[in-house]
Amino acid sequence: MIRLVRGEFLKLRTTQVWFWLLLATAAVSALLIVAQLAPADGVRSAADVPNMFASSSEPYVLVFVLGVLGVTTEFRYQTITPTVLQTPSRWAIVGAKMITYALVGIAYALVAVAIQMAMAVPWLAAKGVHVDFGNGDVIRALAAVFGVVALFGIVGLGVGALLRNQIVAVVVGIVFLLVIQNVLVAIPGVKNVFPYTPGGAADAMLLTNVGPTDFNGVTLLAPLGGVIVLLLWAFVPAVVGAAYSMNRDIT
């Protein structure tokens, strides 16, 4: 399994997509800090700091895409053929990719958090707000960022393994995460589904001190509930993909 994971990392490193998505992650992280600190009604007190750091998780969409590409690129360029010839077990292939993309998610989260800290800490100091890294809420928010981004790497991988088709998987994934989830919140009745979407579960993990009114009256799950729901979103597609889709004929 260690060899397989190392092989997956080498696959990622020997193409360019990881670099561009990392660059996008850095840019999004930096922009989010500017957007939260520049306005007069932005982050003003230490109480706002945990939620500010929770925004480090926003590049989760990019890590999701990276995970999707981790499987679908193999089908697009048919490198899946040498891959399965070398490792006939689809479980081993999907398992190695899950580990790899969870680790990649942690690395991307590290970059996002580092950039946000480097920008926000001196900026807030200039505003007279001290960032206390010993604060429980800050620590919890940062831990949640790593958990959420790592799990979204697996969510993407699972969706890729399930759908196999690169364009379909990327488009379906992005439309769901960026459009459908947000539309759900606005529809009366249906909006109660939101806590069980990947985004809703992630928010439950990240935003520990918001009231129900912040989500159009939808009550998020408890943080642990969010963890469980996001774990399901991560593992169910991957398991179904390994058991079914990945086993379909490769021609």
Partner: protein, 296 residues
């Protein structure tokens, strides 16, 4: 839709077996079933008695290069092989060694995007050889090679066979198979048409062509002497069961004038055409079908 159908054959260790059939005969599908990439609805395929997917270290037992060159265009040849080395637990030097072997050393660090079809074929071969397997399965390895490349491939395959490897090579190019294979399996429309050694398959098919103004009399004389004679038109006869010497001698004795006398060795190509030509008649359009007008 029928994809392959009731094919059955085995490949002996230490031989080069040519897997022949016209395009669409089911060659690639058969090889993909053998490699566990496609599930047959019935039947089985094993390598050394075990299905591919149950082999211990498949890449070390079996090397395969399939028709579709399957490489990421943005990755270099060397990196493609390094990934496989990493997974197989081989040192990176093994990648360099096989690239050298197939003549890609100078292009090893170029992205596959810029490779010609022939170079991709060589990279496919390098990939197949990476684990130093005893069994090689190559689907149309001569596709896209220039004449130099084809000559190189012949020598290369012969070298692999001389090393005692079992090679199964598919092709629709008969000359390629004839040049390297000692066994031939011929497939047509999913069915095994013939299999055996090259010598067995072409034995007994030699014939003599003879042209004479008195073809009728000559034909009778030959038939009386025990040959099978078929008229080929234009005063030409096709004779089986006799050598050119015997035909010439008989004509001389009978006082029959000859204008042409030639021996024809039947080669694999003719055998192949003879075996695969007889298929169902071409599909006729259903009643009431009208060919669509072509817009101008």
């Amino acid at each position: 839709m029928r994809a392959v159908d009731q094919l059955s054959f085995s490949v002996e260790p230490g031989t080069v077996t040519g897997f022949l059939g016209p395009n669409g005969a089911g060659k690639t599908t058969t090889l993909r079933i053998l490699l566990g990439l496609v599930h047959p609805t019935g039947g089985w395929a094993t390598i050394g008695g075990r299905p591919y997917r149950q082999l211990e270290a498949p890449a070390r037992a079996v090397g395969a290069s399939l028709e579709s060159s399957s490489f990421h265009p943005g990755r270099t040849a060397r990196n493609h092989l390094r990934i496989m080395c990493t997974v197989a637990g081989l040192p990176d030097q093994r990648a360099d060694a096989v690239l050298e072997l197939v003549g890609l050393r100078d292009d090893a660090r170029r992205k596959v995007r810029g490779y010609s079809l022939g170079m991709r074929q060589r990279l496919g071969l390098a990939q197949a050889l990476l684990g130093d397997p005893a069994v090689l399965i190559l689907d149309e390895p001569a596709n896209g090679l220039d004449p130099d490349g084809i000559r190189w491939l012949r020598g290369f395959l012969r070298m692999l066979a001389d090393q005692g490897r079992t090679v199964l090579i598919s092709s629709h190019q008969l000359a390629e198979i004839e040049a390297v294979a000692n066994h031939v399996v011929i497939l047509n429309r999913g069915r095994l048409v013939r299999s055996g050694s090259l010598a067995e398959l072409t034995a007994g098919t030699d014939r003599v062509l003879v042209r004479s103004p008195a073809a009728g009399a000559l034909g009778e004389a030959l038939a009386r002497a025990g040959a099978q004679v078929v008229g080929a038109g234009g005063g030409t006869l096709q004779v089986r069961g006799m050598t050119t010497d015997q035909v010439g001698h008989l004509a001389f004795q009978a006082g029959i004038e000859l204008h042409e006398l030639a021996g024809r060795r039947s080669d694999l190509e003719e055998l192949f055409f003879a075996l695969t030509a007889a298929g169902p008649p071409p599909a006729t359009p259903p009643p009431g079908y009208q060919a669509p007008e072509v817009a101008r």
